[in-house]
């Protein structure tokens, strides 16, 4: 499982490997988004500002992340301004 095989065009040789990379990336992306949103929240960013940088609506960010993050930091929104 350690040797990487590649075609000359640069993609993984085995289609399965290529597809599995997509799955791995998607899972990692989800975790990364959750972590970065949480980091921004801890840094005192408002949901509106987080949403703006992510390029999505405030509602979308709130729906996806607020419950999880609030549960982890009950009570004390650090220097929360705006929503």
């Amino acid at each position: 499982m350690n040797e990487k095989t590649r075609t000359t065009v640069g993609g993984p040789e085995d289609p399965r490997e290529g597809l599995e990379a997509v799955v791995a990336l998607r899972r990692t992306l989800e975790a990364l988004e959750a972590a970065q949103v949480e980091n921004a929240f801890i840094a005192g960013w408002s949901w509106a500002r987080i949403a703006e940088v992510l390029g999505v609506s405030k509602q979308a960010v709130h729906k996806k992340h607020a419950k999880r993050i609030r549960a982890r930091y009950p009570g004390e929104p650090p220097e929360r301004k705006g929503s």
Partner: protein
Amino acid sequence: MIFTRFTDRTRACVEAAFDEARMLGHDSLGDEDLLLGILRADEGIGAEALSSLGVTLEGTREQSEEMLSYALSSIGISFEEVRREAGDAFEMRIPDNRRIPFSPRAKKALIEARKEMRRMGDNYLGTEHVLLGILGNADGIGARILAGMGVTPEALEERLFELRGRAAG
């Protein structure tokens, strides 16, 4: 999914499999999660056969993460670096408010498990049938994880039948 004839242990394994899948950030329940579920519930012939061949819950989780890391490295991404850069907040866990479905491979494994049950003339669907169902798909992640740990389908099947024989006799 149809859970008819599932033993309580098998149900517990499926439940544990969902917990494992969530923890590892799997957005659907994979066949490898069924394997993890059997190990985590740690009851029944399936778990006994696995542990007698040196397959542990911890080792299997590590293999699963290893496969993720390998898949990312094949497209030039270091999982370890992503995790390090993201800091303490980074975790693969799927949030509680998100439901995850059975993956096609997991469904297939459970359908195969039912076939194994019939083939063996059993009237209950035990963890050994689930394990055989997982092994039935050599292309599945469960079988590949086991192969990565040096466990062949033949060795595992043999151990399962030994243990069944002992339980019956």
